[in-house]
Amino acid sequence: MHLAELQTRMQRMLLSGGGPDPALLALLADTPEQHERRLAVYRNNVRHALLSVLEAAFPVVEQLVGVECFTATALTFIAEHPPHRPVLYAYGVDFPGFLTEFQPLVELPWLADVARLEWARNEALFAAEAEPLAPDQLASIPADKLAGLQLQLHPATQLLESSWPVHAIWAAHQPGGGPLEAVDLQQAETVMVWRQAGTVRQRLLTPGEFALLAACVKQSPLAEAVEAAIQQEPAFDLRIVLARWLNEDVLERPIMTLLTSQTCGGSSP
């Protein structure tokens, strides 16, 4: 048997957990009664490695359904969606979508959105570095250029809109969090996850904040984005919100040349 076929057969046997493969077993040394025990070491290693990655990325989902249920669910996911890159920080991106469709857990309709929130935290942890936008940089932009300015979210900043109170559910599962029973499950939430000084943070957004940030993601100019925010939240105050975001490092410093040309353009006669 060629090596490629051997590796394909071994992959099937390790992931699917199906019946024994006589063609593969015929290749093994040692006596037949040893084969299953020896293969089981590899099967356990594969499952344990991938299960650990999902447990680390989705700790609140695991608390919500219990370790036993999480393990069974994750093993089904692993068999159906094994990784295709040897870089495991990115493994699990499809797990929230899988939970949406996973029949045994349909009675927990908010579970997939809690998983999305946990994945957003994972994305924020490993996102690229970038300089956050600083107040003096924003102040240096001439007033007549502000309306056309396109604010950039920092690469680590993630937005999440959910029909469920995902932030409250998540918070109830942190050390010192309140009881889950106190969470109003009818409450929709919009959440921002970002990274500040190497730590992943998250908080609820007001409707205006969410509308403005979502417009920034779509590269809308600031004037249009503010209009969208006021539509959602009549009392929206851009100055207060911007000051808070700058303090939180959720925006990215624009590329220097862009900022310089804007500044020069403003000061030229």
Binding site: A4, H35, R37, R38, R85, P86
Partner: protein
């Protein structure tokens, strides 16, 4: 007395595998570790605090980058995107040594199995592994150290034993050997071989780095099976094999690995200090 041509730029002292739980202690104060090794795949994300911490520590410790995902034994060849990611990391960190395993993890359809799976030691597998190692060394712009694996099963089809297979790879590709003494012991016990005989058959002049770690022992219907779990102190027979190895190789960088049930940093450093003791014996004997 010893052939030092194949040594890496790592110091011939005991280092430790740097793991996430110990990052804060390393960032807070210098630690008595002669050098550090990381798992390359843990630092391939675009950014974040772990990569930031490693870049800060890099200036203070010699560094070895140990890949666990390149899959040198893949029949379908190597993943070009993964090679490019590793090259980018290695160019940023400029490690004193880089290494991979004699094993496969990626199946022909691209599925990554997250484990170091065994190869049949056939002429076909030798040609595949040699071509993959040559491509990796070219793409990474560096010489690879290739590690002998822990194995739990063997294939009937075999043109070589493991030591002969590794010797051929060293000869054909110019790669070095990362001699994992614990793996050697685990595999020898699991397959009923004599560890000392395996050691003697390896291309020891190509050893650029040595690994030690703990293993677990499970009872089976036919006897004991050793599991390379890196989850405990180094076992007595492995210390003895390390001493025997160093007598043959001479002074060499030795790394203490601990990956499951990771203990407090002082426990890990104490294991490294014990390895340092074996190195001092050799230096004393040869000096």
């Amino acid at each position: 007395m010893f052939d030092l041509r194949n040594r890496t730029a790592l110091p011939a002292q005991a280092g430790i595998g740097l793991r996430h739980p110990h990052l804060p202690e390393f960032l807070a104060a210098p630690q008595p570790a002669a050098w550090l090794e990381i798992h390359s795949e843990n630092y391939l994300a675009p950014g974040g605090p772990r990569l930031g911490a490693l870049e800060r520590l890099r200036g203070d410790y010699p560094l070895s980058c140990h890949g666990v995902g390149l899959s040198l034994g893949s029949a379908a060849g190597l993943d070009a995107a993964h090679l490019a990611r590793l090259r980018y990391l290695y160019d940023r960190l400029e490690p004193e040594a880089i290494s991979e395993h004699l094993a496969w993890s990626t199946a022909p359809d691209g599925t990554f199995l997250a484990d170091l799976l065994p190869l049949p030691y056939t002429d076909e597998a030798l040609a595949i592994a040699a071509a993959n190692i040559e491509r990796a060394q070219q793409a990474l712009g560096r010489r690879l150290l290739v590690e002998n694996p822990s194995t739990y099963l063997r294939f009937q089809q075999a043109d070589w034993d493991e030591a002969g297979f590794l010797s051929e790879l060293v000869r054909c590709t110019g790669c070095g050997l990362l001699l994992d003494v614990n793996n050697l012991y685990v595999s020898a016990v699991n397959h009923g071989s004599d560890p000392q005989a395996v050691l003697n058959a390896l291309p020891l002049t190509a050893v650029g780095e040595i690994h030690i770690a703990g293993h677990a022992r499970v009872a089976t219907s036919w006897g004991e099976l050793l599991i390379d779990d890196h989850g405990s102190p180094v076992a007595g027979p492995v210390w003895a094999l390390l001493a025997a190895t160093l007598r043959l190789t001479g002074p060499c960088p030795v790394l203490m690995e601990w990956d499951t049930n990771i203990p407090e940093l002082p426990v890990l450093l104490a294991e490294a200090e014990r390895a340092e003791g074996y190195l001092r014996e050799i230096t004393g004997a040869s000096g």
